[in-house]
Amino acid sequence: MAAAPVTAGPVPARRRSRGIPERRLANLMVTPSLLLIALVALYPVIYGVWVSMHQYSLITAGLSRWASPAGLGNYKEALQSSEFWDATRVTLIFTVASVVLETILGLAMALIMKEAFRGQGVVRTVVLVPWAVLTVVTAIMWKTIFDPNLGFVNQILGGNTVWLGEEPQALLVMIFADTWKTAPFMALLLLAGLQVIPSDIYEAAKVDGATTWQRFTRITLPLLTPALLVALIFRTMDALRAFDLPKVLTNGANGTTTLSLLSQRTFQENRLYGPGSAIAILTFILVMIVAFLYIRLVGGNLRGMTED
């Protein structure tokens, strides 16, 4: 590791003569971050795995008892409970529905914002407002909007639905709130992607007689794919760990308990550390599986970032 840098770049002689060798410096500069990440992220996760394999024991007043069988008792219990599968279903429905809605809406917004019009800068700022509003505030906001008395939704739609008090309406409100908060973020990512598509491609296609729809499906969409995939990964990972919205909107009532919320309720409110941790680890595994599937799709893009 401490070897002198392999001669590269235009100034090899000088580089070798002064200061710490480049590779060693690189290691030194990366080490604090990696150590901190290991300490604050890796260690708790490993400890969490340990906790998830144990049961609370009244005798030692601690987590000394191995959760049988073979330490997987808490996992077995979780996988056999309807609560866990309900939460998984809610999490997946929420993720798919909100990500699809956000992508479509975000793409539409990006295509509009790409056009030239007076006040473009203002609109780009306005679009950042939902992104900047806290998730907790977003939840309170939509709670008031869907409130049967205070909100305007029932006024517009007629009827007197108690939105957050019914299933599946409560989940719908949650999906809607998430879409409001993150479609603009999606739009900005996609807008940046649209702006790097050279305009002469469109001109050429027009000369060749391509219709608006053809230009959209044959040029815009394929060239936008890298930006689209990155945006999709971010959003999917975020939606899979949804906690803030269901916690504040309904506290998980009426079919809105996500996996994160179920885990938190189990280990904090009910003090069942082992089972709660098991659900957290299962959530983690689900997220990793989805991330892995995505990375297989976009591995090339990630690699591109580290290359010169």
Binding site: F117, S260, M305
Partner: protein
């Protein structure tokens, strides 16, 4: 809707953009779409402001404008010491997290962006994968661990786990900012006899100042917004942050949710963020899209 908005003349659009706000032939449908975006983004926030100005019986009507606008709710939240304390806690936690995240992260980002080293791809992959971590996997064990070692319900007990998202976020954004700085300047410094680290400190850092500021803003917002860890690892006003405090405003009964004060508090804590957005719109967008479109 999507199909009709494909640029009619992309080139014209591009030149018009360069020539700033001059767009003579804006079609009417575009204005409708733009108006729809603005309404979609702002009306919900307006509703929050509207509710926050209502008290008493007005709080059960859906009037579009408060019939008797009053600042009562705002007064009451600032007289509420647990809310003002939470504001202070949030500021301390978010600023400290941002500071550590950006400083430590900038070292790693520079090495990953510029220096020769083995396993760059793997390191960046690990860092990126941490950003996808479900916070719950950390919250559950920390809840127990912190109780045992006395970090439960403390500000430090929040700052430490906040680094799990602050560091990867900083590294990820800064890598792409550092890569945009022209190499010639560093190389000139190296020719003049500077070490690699001096080149980083004296040439790259000043040039990357806008990027560092952007990274700081984004990290700050992420920390200010955090809720799961904050609600799991705190139990009283000592360490409670603003999102938790607001979510725990209670009415006298389960069915009497104090939406008026909750809305007022929501407006108050959104204002710093909205000001940041107004001031740094371009930078925030650059930071959010960093790395996303270069693939």
């Amino acid at each position: 809707m999507a199909a009709t908005t494909v640029p009619v003349t992309a080139e014209k659009a591009a030149t018009a953009k360069r020539a700033a706000p001059k767009a003579p032939g804006t079609p009417w449908w575009l204005w409708i779409c733009v108006a729809a975006i603005v309404v979609f983004c702002l009306v919900p926030f307006y509703w929050l402001v509207n509710i926050s100005l209502k008290t008493g019986p007005d709080l059960s009507s859906a009037s579009i404008v408060p019939p008797n606008p009053t600042l009562e709710n705002y007064k009451s939240i600032f007289q509420n010491s647990s809310f003002t304390r939470a504001l202070g806690n949030s500021a301390i936690v978010s600023l400290t997290t941002t500071l550590i995240g950006v400083i430590v992260g900038s070292f790693a980002a520079y090495a990953l962006a510029r220096l020769k080293m083995r396993g760059k791809f793997i390191i960046l992959g690990v860092v990126l994968s941490i950003t996808t971590f479900p916070q719950i996997a950390i919250a559950a064990p920390l809840f127990r661990l912190w109780s045992q070692i006395g970090l439960y319900n403390t500000l430090i007990g929040l700052i430490i786990p906040y680094l799990t998202f602050a560091l990867p976020l900083s590294i990820y954004i800064l890598v792409s900012f550092f890569r945009e700085i022209p190499k010639d300047l560093e190389e000139a410094a190296l020719v003049d006899g500077a070490t690699n680290f001096e080149a980083f400190r004296k040439v790259v850092v000043p040039l990357a100042a806008p990027g560092l500021a952007t990274t700081a803003i984004l990290t700050f917002i992420a920390a200010w917004n955090e809720f799961l860890l904050a609600t799991t690892l705190t139990s009283s006003v000592t360490a409670r942050t603003v999102p938790v405090a607001i979510s725990q405003f209670t009415g006298s009964t389960e069915f009497e949710v104090p939406l008026g004060t909750q809305s007022a508090a929501s407006v108050v804590i959104s204002i710093p963020l909205i000001i940041l957005v107004l001031l740094f719109q371009k930078r925030i967008v650059a930071g959010l899209t960093a790395g996303a479109v270069k693939g």
